[in-house]
Structure formats: structure tokens, C-alpha cells
Amino acid sequence: MSRLLSSLRDGKGFDIVLVAVPLLFLIALSGLPLIYNVVMSFQEVDMFSLGTFARPWVGFKNYIAVFSAPETWPIMRNTAVFVVCSIAGQFAIGFGLALFFTQNFPGASYIRGLFLASWVMPGLVVGAIWNWILAGDFGVLNYALKSLGIISENIFWRSDTAWSLWGVVIANIWNGISFNMILLAVGLAGIPRDLYEAAALDGATAWQRFWTITLPMMRSTIGAVISLGLIFTLQQFDLFAAITSGGPANSSNVAQYWAWEQSFRQYDFAKGSTISVVMIAVVMIASIIYVRSTRHEVRG
């Protein structure tokens, strides 16, 4: 008993408890639902059987159905474009801002805080506002672009199949700037100053210092931010619901919205789960890449 106690205070027991409790909690609250979804993707599901695991098994039927649907590949392509462009945009802008605000000019820290706005605004409201901003006829974005002479004809961000996905990407980039910026700012704050000093003496320009010191030292933060960005982007839902509903003609539909449509519009839970399982597979690959990348992290 006292050995156990002392291990808890001083030894491995401390570590094990710290990890085990949250992991068990997570497995119970997130793992089981995940499994529930995976199981459903192999079953036939209707409203009566939502409350149980025991449902007729159908093997890969749902998968075959999903992959033979004509909209599948366009939607997958949209998803890829949406994810890649959103993350690239969020990260680049977020990093740029974070770097900008490391310049310690007066007011910097307050103004930086304002960039949390997109995180704190409720998804419903964000969706509605972007809906207006992107509206074709009376939207502010078109108005601004026209006033600046960038476009002459209104762009129907929401209803033009060529633009609809980009409309949501823009909104989503805006949405993700906050968390990218603030987390990268924290990461930047953790880099010892003297490394920059040494690099400056070694003749590195600001640009070279960024590439050779900042980026590698930020490795763990960047890995975390991008992998979380991926997950958030793959969960972005409000914007689709508010702006395009995946339309027109699925031109802005993405896997997560499609999965939701299948489950909660068509009430085809099995198909919804199947799509989400396919998404899980994608995230799994990304997670493995992230976890592997942590091998090269630098411990302070």
C-alpha cells in the first residue's frame, strides 16, 4: 500500500495514473462512440435499432453502396481541396500573424487577442454572417471587390459551382486563423532568445533564422496545430449548413456534411457511418504521420 502510494508520488505510478485516467475516460466517451459508428457501417440500421449493437450484419454492402455512388468521388475531391486549402490558408495566415505579433510594439498583445474572435463566435452566427458576406446580390464581399475594381460582375460565391467550395474555404480559413495564430504564438514564445542571437552572429538573415531556427524549433507545435487543424477542418459543418448546404449540385459538398446529410436528412445512419469511417481512415493516416514526426522533436 505504501509502496503504491510512493510510486504514485515519485515513480512510474505517477505517470501511469496521469495517462491512464484520461485515456480511460476518452476511450469510454469517445472510443465507444467511434466503435459504435464503425460497427454501424457494417450493419443495417433503422430508427428502432439505434439503441443497440445487435443489428443485422451486411458486410461491406454499405461501403459498396458509398463507393458506387456517382457523387462519391467529386465529394472526396472537394473534401481534399477543402482540407488542404483551408489548412494551408489558416496556417500561413496564422503563422504570419503570430510572427508579426512577436514584434513587441506597444499594444501588440491586446491586438493579438482580438484575433481570438473567430474562435469565440458561435458557429451559427458565423455561418449566418458569412452567408450574408458571400451573398451574390447584396453581399459585402462582392461589394468590396467591385469597389476595389477587382471584379466587374458579382461572383455568386454560394451558387456558382465554380466558386461555392471556395466561398466556404474562405470562411473556414477565417474561422481557423484564431487558433492557428494563438497556438503558434505560444510556440514562438517558447524558443530561447539566445538561439536567435547565436544564429544572427553566425550570419543568418531574418529569413534564414526563420527557416533554420524558428521552424525546426516549432516542430512539435506545428505538428500539433496542423493535425488539429486537419481534424477541425474535417469537422467543419456549420459553414456548409449555413452557406451552401453542400450545393449547388454537390459542388461544395464534403465528406462530413455528406455524412451528416445521410444520417440526419435521409435517416440512412449506416451510410452516414460508413462515410465517417472512411474519413476516420484518412485521419488515421494523418495521425500516424504526426506521431512519427514527433520523433524529431526537441525537448527543452
Binding site: R9, L23, S30, P33, W119, I231, L234
Partner: protein, 275 residues
Amino acid sequence: MTETWTNRILLVVALLLAALYLFPLYWMYVTSLKTGSEIFATPPGLVPSNPQWGVFAYVWELRGMGRFLWNSVVIASGTMVLTALLGTGCAYVLARYRNIWIDVALFLVLMLQVLPASLMITPIFVGFSQIGLLAHPQWAVILAITAKSMPFFVVLVRASFMAVPAELEEAALVDGNSRVGAFWSIVLPLARNGILVSAILIFMQAFGEFVYSKSMIPAVELQPASVGLNAFMGPNTTEWNNIMAYATIYVTPILAVFVVLQRRIVSGLTSGALK
């Protein structure tokens, strides 16, 4: 002299960037002050011609926002505390070691948050109803949100712990502290930037959470402001100004608080620690 000038230029640039970025927020503010027809005017009016200041008091009263906001605060605080309690230690251990088990744990942590809430709610609802947790809906929601946001917290805070030199913890151990104590008095304060910011983000996320609360809290008295807002935002609404006023009341104080709080991200927390 030159320094103050660069500072001024930087400040101006910062303000411009903020203005650009904050446009949607601004739009929320002006919309709340506009009259119904002004909202859909073409071209859009950047400044309300006849600001309806009374809208805030009106919405506050009408929707009983005090109670909603209080519920939001309760849920968000509960989530933040629970997440921080469970997640901080986990992140610390995941940062401290480097082996295959850590990889597995990290992988699990990431994987466990991949499903969107809308797909998680059904199994969670079913599970909670079976163990009777739905009788305490706010608790149920706190637990559910915590599970959803913890991986986020863990991955981020882990990155902060990575920046704390291991030697400092060792020094504390030699000075006679236990692992628990060293963690508490040395490692934690030095990782506080990351923890603080992540906790803020979690709080804000939980403050706006909506999918779980909507499904698990049937009683209006216990619902958070997000659900109150949603109830208000049916597909056929004319009250955009009221909705935006609601959103304004909902968002602004919390944003203001955290603009101030996040200032504590200061650089060089560990400088001077090591030779």
C-alpha cells in the same frame, strides 16, 4: 527615435490587419443595430443609419439571456476544469517520455476526436441514457464536451511541456520534492502559457457548444446560450437584428476577458534557467 517610428508603423499595420479580420464581428455588431429592411439593403450599409440601441436590453429581457449565459458559463467552466484536470497530466507524461507506448497513446488521443459531434451524439446519448446520466443533463454535457475537446488540449499542452527543460524538474526532485510536487511547482508554472491559452480555447469552445447541449438538455432552464440562440434562429426568422444582438451579448464579454487574459503569453519563460 527610429524605434518609436517602427513601433508606430507596426501598430498601424496591426490595426489594419485586425480591422480586416474583425469584419465579420463588426458585421455582427452593425447588423444588430440595423432595422429589418436595412439588413438586406443593396448595396450593404457599412454603418447603420439609425442605430437601434434599445435592441440589447430588449433581447436580454425577451430571451431571458441571464439564465442562458449563466448556464453557458457553468458548462464551459466545468468543461475547462475537467479538461485541464485530466488533460494536463496526460500531456505532461506524453511530453516527458519518448517510446512506443507514448506513440500509441498519442495516436489514440488524436484518433478519438476525429468524429464530428453530430455523429457522436447518437451513441453518447444512447450510452448516457443507459447509465442514467441524462438525469443530470449539464453534467452529461460537460462530460461529453470534455471528451470531445480533451485531445485538442492534450496535443497542444504537450507541445508546451516539450519546451520545459527536464533538468529543472530534476533539480526540484533533488531539492526534496516529489514528482507530484515538482510537477506542480516547477513544470506547471513553466508550461503555463500553453496551458492557459489552451484552457481559454477550451472554455470558449465549450461556451459556444451546441450539438450536445441541444440534444441532452431538454429543460430550457438548464440550456446554455447557444441553444437559446438556436431556438431563436429557426429557418424562418425575421429577427436578424435581434439574433445578432443576442450574439453580441453572448460573445463580447467573453472576448474582452480573453483578450486581456491571453496577454500573459510572454516569451522567455525559461530563459536564464540553464547555462
